[in-house]
Amino acid sequence: MTDHLLSLMTFFPILGMVALLFLPKENGNLIKGFTLVVTIIVFFISLPLAFNDVFKTSAGMHYTEFVPWISVGEFFTMNYSVGVDGISLWLILLTTFIMPIAILSTWHAVDKNVKGFMALALLLETAMLGAFISLDLFLFYIFWELMLIPMYFMIGIWGGKNRIYAAVKFFIFTAVGSLLMLVAVIYVYYYAIQSGIDMSGFSITQFYQVAIPAEIQTWLFLAFAFSFAIKVPMFPVHTWLPDAHTEAPTAGSVILAAILLKMGTYGFLRFAMPLFPDATHQFIPFLALLSVIGIIYGALVAMMQDDIKKLVAYSSVSHLGFVMLGVFALNLQGLSGGMIQMINHGITTGALFLIVGFLYERRHTREIAQFGGLAKRMPIFATIFLIMTFSSIGLPGTNGFVGEFLILMGAFESQLRWFAVFATTGVILAAVYMLWMYQRVMFGELKNPANEKLKDLSGREIALMAPLLLFVFWIGLYPNPFFEKMTPALEQLLQQVNGTEIVAMVEPAQIQLPELK
């Protein structure tokens, strides 16, 4: 069982999807319920990972599986090679954790073509989990691209009125980046082969061994980084995000914000940085600058939004800027902060999108000006919204603080000191835009008669938010269980990126560079 835990977890949703196709199309609740059960089962399958203490001590990959997949003689091989370490562990759990919540959120939100939506959601889950567990770059790429299609349809079919533009923009932005990455992936592979490494597939652990000259790293890193930066999204390639988020249905936004964006940051951690350490160091000032610009820029733009969802979307840009800053700090605090902030963003922003969804379901508008004074009618909602707002702001005691604090502290301790100083202003701006929004929506007189009859949260909706609330405070008050399992992996990553110990397997002189034509 544990031998194939990861595969079971990853492909169970696909099985569910196939089974789903045989359910009657008309019975929406049955389909939703079935999907919910599938995702919950996946969550329980993934749960043993969370309780495995091996991650506290060992940085390596666990639960590994290896099946030869494509092999074309001496041309190339690709393997189904998967595993999990302290970095991917949490993202996997985040995925399996968020999915049932996202599905549950669709209960009243999705009513047309339910079957299609659920099938896509399950396909998406497989793709996301697959990307997180892949240890073969080619496999990763497959899953990475596979994520695009379900999301594209989710936005395009179940989205708002500007959905087509948003869906196409989402698809093209993301695909453009990943196509360039593909070139780099192939290049790295042949580089490794030509430098005499007997590659078994596109194994990343073997790629780590390749000593690539700095000037080549530069280009490869750029290709990878571009792809991941779009996904993160970093300034200035973020503009797909507000549109995608605004138009996507609630569940789509939740998945997009909570998990899909993490693909980008995860890509940096897993691929771009350890594969090309020299280039990483070379580009850190630049990327950190973009992160900081993203933080401030996202916040300033978020401040002026009049659509709640767009505001939350821009706040994502800001928060992901924090994550990237922490990652680029390249020390344990920054990285841990970045990691925990990824989880935080998943929980908090996911929750905020759910909250927006609640409002939208009730009022069919997301325009801030349409609201005001809702706190009076919806006290429970107001409380939860408030907690999530402050979690987003990074109030100590909530999860947001732990992440931001560590990121800023990590950045401050690294060469990015001045970046950290400017990034800290994001702390102020976050309060400005979140509180202003909260005030305009929840406070004030209840003037709009359409808001008079708003109902407070239902049991289902509270059940949806409860686990998220739990994690807001858990991570805020006692984050050590999370840290202790990611630390060994992060330390190893640091060694790879900063390391003095990278052993060049081959003398650089021996390597025949393919000539650029």
Binding site: F75, Y152, Y190, P514
Partner: protein
């Protein structure tokens, strides 16, 4: 005289032409059958043709790893030829499966249609297995003449006439260049046999730079480039693809294109390997031009057939990338890609066949609005084909593109690959647009074509299976493609 006869008898090796022989015999038999069938009942002919193709397929497979040569070195049934034969047979079979009901719908239930496809397939086989420029030329002509007829098959339809005539005039024009090139090469080497030409240049490297050689190669290339549809010899493609009956368009985009590639590859790799630096450079430029022109023009198309025509130009550009690389991966990548392309493109056209109304005026983007809700099965299939055409995993299109680009990267053509992927990015736009219309727009009107003919469904299902199989488990076929190159 006695010797001559002995020699001639010794050279008659039916094993070397067995697939095409079987196919032409079937073709003639079916031609006869169709004469005796009552007017309008073409279904038996169609199924007979499928049987013919299947039988030929088994015959072809029997030749795998069992190369045969014969007829004074005019043909060689090697793995290369076999691989391409399978491509032709697959494309012909898929085409025939979608044709039957289509012909009836459009009002041309003519039995000769199927033998013509079979003959065209046979011609393609001669192109792939011909080892003499003459054989290749004749194969090309059999193929082309059949296609001229098939493109103009709907004789009451002006569009179809125009397509046939344009194809005919430009095709003959290109043939002139091809022949002139062959003549010049003949002048340089004194032979039209590919192996002999290769040997001649191997023995007399000085003559490679003979201007007549170079001019001959240039002119010769044009004949093939025209058939393949490489910019600037591509201009017939959109018009003909748009005007021809849709199944024929599907067929043309897969089988004949592959045939031209087969002949061209054989000529380039066996007769002219010495000129590789020259033609690699030229194909570099042509590949870039082809990709750009195909993709860019496709963006502004609203007729889906025409859009797919431009997209097929772009795909030729991708395949040419493998030719630029000219290494094992690149060349076998072309083979793989052509097979993958066969499935995905014919699949896409098959969906169009079923989506169209009589006269096919509705095969525009607007006409596809809401298609996903009216015909969910077809729309899902279409989406899979489009995704494959985009080159998104886990589909055949991605595997093929990966294969070819890997070859180019290995050969060091990084920038070419970068241009290639950027072009893929451009292509996303117009492929996505079809999906946008199918799923994200509300249905404009009802679709007239209610019946889902079993044969066409089989064709679509086979295409889907092919696309997904080649996408998820491409290893086996890639291995075969690797064994199929010289």
């Amino acid at each position: 005289m006695e010797n001559l006869v002995q020699e001639a008898i010794a050279n008659v090796n039916f094993a070397a032409i067995m697939p095409s022989l079987v196919l032409t015999l079937f073709g003639m038999a079916i031609l006869l059958v169709s004469v005796f069938l009552p007017r309008g009942s073409t279904t038996p002919v169609a199924w007979l043709s499928v049987v013919a193709l299947v039988v030929t397929g088994f015959v072809s497979l029997g030749a795998w790893n069992n190369p045969e040569v014969g007829f004074y070195g005019h043909v060689a049934l090697d793995n290369f030829a076999t691989f391409f034969n399978i491509i032709f047979l697959v494309s012909a079979a898929l085409t025939i499966l979608i044709s039957d009901d289509y012909l009836r719908r459009e009002g041309y239930p003519v039995g000769e249609y199927y033998p013509l496809i079979l003959f065209a397939t046979a011609g393609a086989m001669w192109m792939a297995s011909g080892t003499d420029l003459l054989t290749i030329f004749l194969g090309l002509e059999v193929l082309s003449v059949s296609l001229y007829v098939l493109a103009g098959f709907f004789r009451g339809q002006l569009r179809s006439n125009e397509a046939g005539l344009k194809y005919f005039l430009l095709g003959c024009f290109a043939t002139g260049f091809l022949l002139y090139g062959i003549a010049l090469l003949y002048g340089v080497t004194g032979t039209t046999n590919i192996a002999d030409i290769g040997m001649y240049f191997a023995q007399n490297p000085a003559y490679i730079s003979n201007i007549m050689t170079l001019g001959g190669v240039g002119l010769l290339s044009i004949g093939f480039l025209f058939k393949i549809g490489v910019v600037p010899f591509h201009m017939w493609t959109p018009d003909v693809y748009q005007g021809a009956p849709t199944p024929i368009t599907a067929f043309m985009s897969a089988g004949p294109k592959a045939a031209a590639f087969a002949g061209f590859l054989r000529v380039l790799l066996l007769a002219l390997p010495a000129l590789q630096p020259e033609w690699s450079t030229m194909f570099w430029i042509l590949a870039v031009l082809t990709m750009i022109v195909g993709n860019v023009i496709a963006i502004s198309q609203t007729d889906i057939k025409r859009m797919l025509a431009f997209s097929s130009i772009a795909h030729v550009g991708y395949a040419l990338v493998g030719l630029v690389a000219a290494n094992e991966i690149g060349i076998s990548g072309i083979l793989f890609y052509l097979l993958a392309y066969t499935f995905m493109n014919i699949g896409a056209f098959a969906v169009l066949v079923l989506a169209g109304k009589k006269g096919e005026d509705n095969l525009t983007l607007d006409g596809m609005a809401g298609f996903g809700y009216k015909r969910p099965f077809l729309a899902v299939a279409m989406s899979i084909f489009l995704v494959s055409l985009m080159g998104i995993p886990p589909t055949a299109g991605f595997a093929g593109k990966f294969y070819i680009f890997a070859g180019a990267v290995e050969a060091g053509y990084i920038w070419l690959v970068v241009i290639g992927v950027l072009n893929s990015a451009v292509s996303l736009y117009y492929y996505l647009r079809v999906m946008v219309y199918m799923y994200f727009r509300d249905p404009a009107e009802d679709f007239g074509w209610v019946k889902m003919p079993a044969a066409a469904v089989v064709s679509i299902v086979l295409s889907v299976v092919g696309v997904l199989y080649l996408g998820v488990l491409p290893g086996a076929v890639m291995e075969i493609a690797k064994l199929a190159i010289f």
